[in-house]
């Protein structure tokens, strides 16, 4: 009975089927070693097509200037910053799963963390594009870095939330990448040691950094993962907090709100989990990984979605209440006229946001709905549409009618190059994701093996006799297990 890991039968298994360690390796590495399916090629080529459209759009914007976008007198930030905030937000779910759930010792994270972390990295890459290309003279982008220079030296403004954003997003990307890659090392070594083809031996030999699985290395690896998780947890909260400071520290009615940081963070996790659902529902189906990304994983994530969606809903209502309660006519106007009034020019966007983010996720109070794949997939798309509109509402409806009514006549709608840029980031995101799902294991192999004997279906069955024991007998046996 030595070292038998016990987990209550009340908790459903996280790995279905009769698995042993070798079977886990076989199942997860299979898509990496096989040739990609037709479906993969179709998806990949569509993504590359979108990416090309994006590159053309951005090139057009760089050659002819930011005037190619329909930003105008009052709407200085339009689709670009909306998309920036949306993509950064999507990234947050990956870090939540990999870091915060690691600290909370949630076993279910092992099935989804690798893909979610990859999603984080690709989403942050997409997000970063928007402020960079919005600079117009993009070849001057390095001016945001503080370095001694012959212009004074003229330093960047360390008191500006926009510069905080540079540091926050930059740090977030770096730390996420390191966290993801150090987690990948043992799995890359697994593929390397199985490889038969020459290029695969070479490629995984290089990328696995010479990992051997030594106990001392595992000990350091665990310590590293724990500390990185501890660092990434406040980091992920700080990133969207600082993104919200871009708005909250201004004095624009509709932006000048102290509730923004928690509200943005909740919204980020909300939209991020929706994107994780979208990706994983497809991934588990196409790569046949239903036994590792089970209905339990989907249900748990739907619970997070209904929780964070409701937090966001509370924030929307609080904002409305405070706009009225403050007695500030400008704040009141920004909310009651520019947003809530359905007959105002952009009033419709507020109702899309409300129905997608607050009303529709409430369906997940029902267990049957949480465990329904079609409903989950549909909802994951709806939530992300809603979260895009949330950022659009916050950014555009707060600024399109400013203090000077003569400039109100300009109705902001994006140009084809703005839309193309946004589509292009979808192309970038999915191109990266398709390549990732082909060349890297989409599930953390070592981590699944780590929980297999505790949460695997075949091992849980063997624990039946434990369940029949009295607590005293169990405690006695468990205390002597080591």
């Amino acid at each position: 009975m030595a070292l038998r890991k016990y987990e209550s039968q009340v908790r459903p298994p996280l790995v279905d089927g009769q698995k042993d360690y070798h079977q886990v390796t076989e199942d997860i590495v299979r898509p990496v070693e096989g040739s990609p399916s037709t479906l993969w090629w179709i998806g990949f080529l569509i993504s590359v097509g979108l990416l090309t459209f994006g590159i053309i759009s951005v090139t057009h914007e760089v050659v002819y200037g930011v005037g190619q976008w329909n930003l105008n007198k009052t709407v200085g930030w339009g689709w670009d910053i909306t998309n920036f905030v949306w993509w950064v937000g999507i990234g947050h779910a990956g870090t939540l799963i990999s870091a915060i759930l690691l600290l909370f010792r949630q076993g279910w994270r092992t099935g989804v963390n690798r893909a979610a972390e990859a999603m984080t990295i690709f989403a942050v890459m997409c997000a970063g594009q928007f402020p960079i290309w919005h600079m117009g003279r993009v070849w001057m982008a390095f001016f945001v870095m503080p370095y001694p220079n012959p212009r004074g030296p003229l330093w960047v403004n360390f008191n500006s939330p926009l510069l905080w954003d540079v540091f926050a997003v930059g740090t977030y990307f770096t730390v996420s990448l390191l966290f993801w890659y150090t987690g990948l090392l043992p799995d890359l070594a697994t593929i390397r040691d199985r490889a038969k083809l020459k290029w695969r031996k070479l490629f995984y030999g290089i990328t696995a950094f010479g990992w051997t699985g030594s106990t001392k290395h595992w000990q350091r690896h665990e310590a590293l993962a724990l500390v990185l998780a501890g660092l990434a947890t406040p980091l992920v909260l700080s990133v969207h907090t600082i993104v919200s400071f871009d708005f909250a520290t201004s004095i624009v009615p509709g932006w000048h709100t102290t509730i923004f940081p928690p509200y943005f963070v909740a919204g980020a996790i909300f939209s991020g989990f929706a994107m994780v659902q979208t990706l994983l529902l497809v991934t588990r189906k196409v790569l046949k990984l239903e036994e590792y990304i089970t209905m339990e994983h989907i249900e748990v994530m739907n619970k997070v979605i209904v929780l964070t969606g409701s937090i966001v809903g509370c924030a929307y209502l609080t904002e409305l209440f405070v706009a009225w309660y403050s007695g500030n006519p400008f704040e009141n106007w920004a909310f009651m006229q520019n947003r809530v009034n359905p007959f105002s020019p952009l009033g419709w966007s507020y109702y899309i946001m409300m129905s997608c983010n607050v009303l529709s996720p409430q369906i997940f109070w029902f267990r049957k709905m949480r465990r329904n794949i079609t409903v989950t997939f549909f909802m994951s798309i709806i939530v992300n549409i809603g979260m895009w509109f949330e950022r659009f509402v916050i950014i555009v409806t707060s600024i399109y009618r400013d203090y000077l009514p003569s400039s109100w006549s300009t109705y902001y709608r994006p140009s084809i190059w703005e839309v193309g840029f946004y589509m292009g980031t979808f192309g970038l995101f999915f191109t990266c994701y398709f390549l990732f799902s082909k060349f890297f294991p989409v599930i953390a192999i070592a981590e699944i093996k780590h929980i297999l004997k505790k949460s695997g279906e075949s091992f849980k069955e063997k624990m039946d006799d434990f369940e029949k024991e009295t607590p005293e007998e169990f405690a006695h046996e468990f205390a002597h297990a080591h």
Partner: protein
Amino acid sequence: MAFKKFVVGCFDEEGALFAAVKKTRQSGYKIHDVFTPMPIHGLDKAMGLRETSLHTAGFIYGITGTTTALSGIGWIFNSSWPLNFGGKSHFSLPAWIPITFELTVLFSAVGMVMTFCYLCQMAPFVKKHHFHPRSTDDKFVMVIECTDKTNEAAVESFLQGLGATDVNTQVAETGWWLGRYDKERTPFGLKSTQPAV
């Protein structure tokens, strides 16, 4: 790096590993290492490895980041180019908190990962000897280091007695080299100095 002799044994169960490690240490053999496909909690303690100090390194890197941010921004805003922001104090500490925090995290994370790679001697292109090809798949591989006086046959039968399979003796280099995994251990195409088993 010198070549040494090692006796290698595989275990299918991590449970059996603990008893094996304990008995091996009691018998006075030197465990070179145990290679496992996933982390086994408690195995490091069973093997008598000391706790890693990577956390401490992370803390030191972190406070280096904090100091860098505060002293850097402080020097820039007070001495190098003191800009006047609406008559506010040049030393505006609350506004520096976000960047100070980010640099703390950045220094700590990057420093720790680099230290981790250094301590484990890991880098792209680095290769190391593999005692068993399935030690990253499903086998738990215990490696006992031999000295000149060791009777390898005795160690092999000892390991078999513990329930190990695939027991064999290997001559291996404990360090790392550059090259490919499917080639023999011949860094840069040089002739191997490997002695005969």
